[in-house]
């Protein structure tokens, strides 16, 4: 039993370390267009978002697993969600050189206020797509893996939808609290914003990012 525990914690620690390292590298790439200091900040903050979101939702995930008849223990749920995060981390690590290339060859260094705002919005959306895709692949592999482990009468799809929804909501909000992540060109570099806890992600998506993109960078 003690050996089993030791193996479990060892495996979990390795996965958490890998997720932290991989998202740290991607975090640095994410913000390097703004400044090296910003890259260093985000290399710390992005792992906090990924690992933090996983830990925050793990209890809900366990309960969802019980409610849908998966019969997973808490430690199995933890292992499962960090497996999905590890897959996402591996994809982000692999995508980092490509993203870095685009940052250095396509993102403008300077320009009008509107040009830089549009560049910021496009980059933010691109990073959301990359991270969302990585997470989706992680969840898809987790689904395949869990399908072999859970009882036949388990409502696995419902469980995965609940897990994904919880991850999306908590991950986005944690990311919002930890902003700046991409680094707005018109705001000074700082580790956390003074108004970090004063608004939420969805509010920004619908009132700032999407309207800005639809207007092609022109504020109406």
């Amino acid at each position: 039993m003690a050996t089993e525990n030791g193996e479990f914690y060892g495996r979990l620690a390795r996965r958490i370390l890998f997720v932290a390292a991989a998202t740290g590298v991607y975090g640095a790439v994410l913000a390097v267009w703004r400044s090296p200091l910003m890259a260093a900040y985000v290399a710390v903050k992005l792992p906090a978002v990924f690992v933090g979101a996983t830990l925050v939702v793990s209890l809900f995930c366990w309960m969802a697993a019980l409610a849908t008849g998966a019969g997973l223990r808490y430690r199995e749920v933890l292992e499962a969600v960090f497996f999905a995060m590890s897959v996402a981390g591996a994809i982000l690590l692999a995508a980092a050189p490509v993203v870095l290339f685009f940052v250095f060859s396509a993102a403008p260094d300077s320009g009008t206020r509107e040009t830089m705002r549009l560049a910021h919005a496009v980059m933010m959306l691109a990073h959301i797509v990359v991270m969302g895709s990585a997470g989706t692949v992680g969840v898809a592999l987790l689904y395949r893996s869990l399908k072999r482990r859970v009882p036949a009468d388990c409502r696995l799809v419902l469980m995965m939808v609940l897990w994904l929804a919880a991850f999306a909501v908590v991950g986005c909000q944690l990311g919002w609290i930890m902003r700046p992540l991409v680094g707005s060109p018109n705001i000074s570099v700082e580790f956390l914003r003074s108004d970090a806890l004063e608004s939420n992600f969805l509010e920004s998506l619908f009132t700032q990012i999407l309207p800005h993109l639809i207007n092609g960078g022109v504020v109406k």
Binding site: A90, A94, A95, A96, V98, F102, F104, S105, D109, V137
Partner: protein, 220 residues
């Protein structure tokens, strides 16, 4: 196919699966990798030459070299993505053997580009429209890329990967990186010494869009 001999171009186009099997087997050697890299380089060089023939022979030679560089750079930059995507898709191959599999894809692409180069050359030397050459080059390159689906399917049939989605995704990433690299080494359709337009960093969609809007008279 014997494991002691390096396969030829015919085998690459006729039965990519055999080469996949060859790469998977014990006899995977640097000779096979060198052959595939050579096919890729020659194909890209011919296609580049045909593009540059629009301007003059000097630009054609320069574009041939640029195209080889673009393919090599894109392959190296996208290799981590290939490794992770293939592994997620069920591949158990080492990084070296996966590099050979990636080269099978690029060599197939190179073969098709070489085959289409004379057609592109014919149009290059008989038109004045930059936009037409840009569009035709993109269509022919996209057509060549479609044929790379065959070796990917062969990899799935041979059981090298469990599903094709990962490799297809890699092809998309490779194509996008190649297009951005083309933008980085611009201009390709203007006399040597012509300043880059637009100056500085530029996203490939912006560059290609502007190229399509350009008139040949302003470039030559």
């Amino acid at each position: 196919m014997s494991n002691e001999t390096t396969p030829g171009l015919g085998e690459l186009l006729r039965a990519p699966g055999d080469i996949m099997g060859f790469a998977e087997g014990q006899a995977c050697s640097w000779r096979l990798a060198a052959f595939l890299a050579l096919v890729t380089a020659v194909g890209c060089a011919l296609f580049g030459f045909a593009i540059g023939a629009f301007v003059d022979l000097k630009v054609a030679a320069l574009d041939a070299a640029k195209m080889v560089g673009i393919a090599a750079f894109s392959f190296v930059l996208c290799f981590p993505t290939l490794y992770v995507f293939a592994t997620i898709s069920g591949s158990k191959l080492s990084a070296a053997r996966l590099a050979v599999l990636g080269l099978v894809c690029t060599a197939t692409l190179g073969s098709l580009l070489a085959a289409l180069a004379p057609i592109l050359w014919l149009f290059s030397v008989s038109t004045e429209k930059v936009a037409f050459i840009v569009v035709l080059s993109c269509i022919l390159a996209a057509l060549s890329l479609v044929f790379v689906v065959r070796p990917v399917a062969a990899a799935a049939e041979k059981g090298i990967v469990a599903n094709r989605a990962g490799l297809h995704m890699w092809l998309v990433v490779f194509a996008v990186v190649a297009l951005q690299t083309v933008t980085l080494v611009r201009p390709m359709l203007a006399p040597i010494g012509t300043p880059r337009t637009p100056e500085g960093k530029c996203f490939f969609l912006v560059h290609f869009g502007e190229s399509v809007g350009l008139n040949a008279a302003t470039m030559r």
